[in-house]
Amino acid sequence: MTPDKKTLVHMYETMNKIRMFEKKLQDFFAAGEIPGFVHLYLGEEAVATGACSALTDKDKITSTHRGHGHLLAKGGDLKLMMAEIFGRKTGYCLGKGGSMHIADLDLGILGANGIVGGGGPLATGAAFASKYSKADTVTVCFFGDGASNQGTTQESLNLASAWKLPLVFVNENNGYGISCPQCKSMAVTDIADRAAAYDMPGVVVDGNDVLAVFEAVSEAVKRARNGEGPSLIECKTYRWRGHFEGDACTYRCQEELDEWMGKDPIPRFEAKLVESGAVSKKEAAAIQDRIAKEIEEAVTFAKQSPFPDPSELLDNVYA
């Protein structure tokens, strides 16, 4: 199922937005201008974009510690995100959450998450709420290969299937749980194999092909809306940067990185868009220029915003 031209162009915009946002963060983190940790999504843009393009505004997502891509793909505001990551009062969490706690309930973004495997139970709860209240919304749970080994994820898969919840588990398998290669921590090569244990469909797609992700998630969303229960989509992809900014990446080789960078999802998609006539090369360049400008505006907004006042330290703290 190929989406219409408008959706194709939106996908291209979104992937570029994520790419430029993350590159900007990479630079500012290296310059010491960003507090805390950031886990960049560079290289994985097709997964968030393809999956979120299959959702409506009312549908929900749960994210991970590597969440900027998910949030932007679901419609997160560039300025509010940038301000939050810069620790400014104008940010999504008033500058006190940082990279790993951004949420926007109005957009169905139930939050990035600092806990590996923390999104599964939240997504299961949201999907249960949808079914219980007959809300006709679907939840997508993004999780990594490391999270797939957590009990929370397996418990979520089990309950979601037992209760036939409108939930799509989108696994981003980038091959490494922090510094541990998958082959050292998992007896299977395909996380999708685990779906059979929970009586749900499990498929593997090329996570660097935005339309492969879109097609699979669209079909899983359709299944979920029809009351047929959850699905597990495993997207094979790769993170270009370390687990976190500052990670020396001594656990992987340059050849491997080069091979995956050769599968960059953005030029692959752009070439096909141009060939299909959905955009011209000139239009593609104009889109990139516009997004670059939006990112610069977001940076300016963030930098000009104040830090939270120390007197606000305990505001909005509930536990």
């Binding site: 190929t2 090569t189 339309l211 097609e215 079909e219 091979e259 060939e275």
Partner: protein, 327 residues
């Protein structure tokens, strides 16, 4: 020394057809169990050595962890890229090593990847799923036995095999790819999830074989003609409206489609059948794979010099007649 080969694809059986249709789930553990039975059958069939394609999951290594064959079972020295190319490269190497029969565990796509490497080594394709046409659907023990007998030279090779037709995919008169069962022209440039289930996107369909009891795209032709794999003819269908006939066929497990057929033409060997869509893609053996760029002169040609496929039933019948397993 007689040598048999194993090419087991750990990536087969996990595509989107588990979502859009009701395809069987075939996990790697089951491939490991099949491989155990296959090796035991090969050894009993009389082959003296087995070589195999290494893979990231370690299908054969894991199989060997629970059995102790008396013959050497060794990996090929080949780079692992975890792509279809691994299978093609491994098949090429097997030919150079003098492998006399190679068993391919996978589906139509994996078999095609092996045949891209060589069509000179007898192939025994063993199905790891229910959505396949080319491979043998049967018990791995017996497939192993047949492969072992074939590779050991106990029977004349020409009596063990059937040489089947395949398609050459041509770009500007050059062969750029092959298809074993079907080549579907796809009116879209995006590869996406590769599988083909939207037939309104398929204006032309070419079949090397078809049967009424088949599954997949060849099932469409199977409702119109019956063509055996070794027959020197194929079928070219034009799909869409206005149609002369409307055909209902099982195009995937649990999935039926009704499609308009505007034209039916038998294909003869070496005839050039032009493709009328550009840009677009050609789905070979069920997967969008080959790009059609604007300005390309793309065509399909039936080639009778396809792979030599081991006929398990025929091998076992011949074995019985010669008393290979009777004392």
């Amino acid at each position: 020394m007689s040598i048999a080969g194993i090419l087991a694809n750990p990536a087969s059986g996990k595509d989107i057809r588990r979502l859009v249709a009701h395809g069987s789930v075939f996990d790697n553990q089951e491939k490991v169990r099949m491989t155990r039975r296959l090796i035991l059958g090969m050894e009993r069939g009389g082959v003296e050595r087995i070589v195999y394609m290494p893979d990231a999951y370690g299908v054969v290594e894991r199989a060997l962890s629970a059995i102790s064959p008396a013959i050497p079972v060794t990996p090929l020295e080949t780079p692992m890229r975890n792509t279809q190319q691994d299978t093609t490269t491994a098949a090429e190497i097997m030919e150079t090593l003098g492998v006399a029969c190679m068993v391919v565990l996978g589906g139509d796509g994996t078999s095609r990847a092996a045949c891209k490497g060589t069509v000179n080594v007898p192939i025994l394709p063993l199905s790891t799923g229910t959505n396949n046409v080319f491979p043998f659907m049967g018990e791995a023990t017996i497939a192993g036995l047949a492969a072992g007998v074939t590779a050991s030279g106990k029977l004349p090779i020409e009596q063990c095999c059937v040489q089947v037709c395949m398609f050459d995919i041509l770009r500007n008169q050059e062969v750029i790819d092959i298809a074993l069962v079907d080549a579907a022209v796809y009116d879209d440039v995006f590869m996406a999830s590769r599988a083909v289930w939207r037939l309104d996107k398929v204006p032309q369909l070419f079949l090397t074989r078809c049967r009424a009891d088949s599954i997949g795209l060849s099932a469409i032709g199977g409702q119109l003609r019956s063509i055996r794999p070794e027959e020197p003819r194929g079928l070219a269908l034009e799909l869409g409206e206005p149609a002369d006939a409307s055909v209902t066929a099982a195009i995937a497990p649990g999935m039926f489609a009704t499609v308009g057929v505007r034209g039916v033409k038998e294909m003869l060997p070496d005839e050039i059948h032009p493709i009328h869509t550009a840009p677009g893609m050609i789905a070979v053996d069920g997967e969008r794979e080959v790009d059609i760029h604007r300005g390309d002169a793309m065509a399909i040609r039936l080639n009778t010099a396809g792979p030599k496929v081991v006929d398990v039933r025929r091998v076992m019948d011949l074995s019985r007649k010669r008393g290979l397993f009777v004392r």
